[in-house]
Symmetry: C2
Subunit: 109 residues, 2 copies
Amino acid sequence: MFSGSLIKGTLKTIILKLLYEHGSMYGYEITKQVEESSEGKLKLTLGAIYPTLHKLEKGGLLSSRSVEVDNRLRKYYALTAEGKKAAIKKINEYESFARIMHTIILSNN
Amino acid sequence: MFSGSLIKGTLKTIILKLLYEHGSMYGYEITKQVEESSEGKLKLTLGAIYPTLHKLEKGGLLSSRSVEVDNRLRKYYALTAEGKKAAIKKINEYESFARIMHTIILSNN
DNA sequence: CTCATATACATAATTTTCTTATATATAAAA
DNA sequence: TTTTATATATAAGAAAATTATGTATATGAG
């Protein structure tokens, strides 16, 4: 589980990407999905997820609808048209950044 | 130049890695090196570099010596024995994190 | 000769982003 | 019945960066 700080700056990218692929998800589901696809190595904290979802919605990138399941509320989020553009942009930015980090981290000079 | 936030959490790793490969460097040199190897795409701010170098030194990972060159001070930093261990650890952590991000970001499900 | 740019360090104020703690509530399993 | 899982929300605090500011020398352009 990393020293922690590496997750910083990538949370929005992860959320946007997951919603881009899955169509619509709720907060708790996002943490479970990441935990699963990382084989338990990356655990997103809900205290970070929820404020970020709210912020993205306020910024017009997400829309939400609340659904009652088993007497519990679930708030499903989905990308708006603007959100889809932002998702693609963020993913490209991450790829570009990862390439640079690869150059720095894996070079021997 | 990324939305900015992606650099967060990777600064220490970058510094430790560069010092690991170059033996010893000064703050300004680190920013130039990163700018060059990223083809101008990644610019580390000196307002982040200097406090981080001080912090790493205080933490025992770096040692420093000041050298006067052209009537200007240069503060060269190098890894301590502990710093070398930390560098290797940080690099491994980054690689592990990058692998997970790759799984999440580049998957279609 | 002066002004912008480059070199070189340092720190303070602010902002961004995340962690940890707290709160509420239902349901199932031990 | 108490822990674990599901599900959301927010507040306090810490961590890490950006932006702004300050000092100082050197060089090249105009």
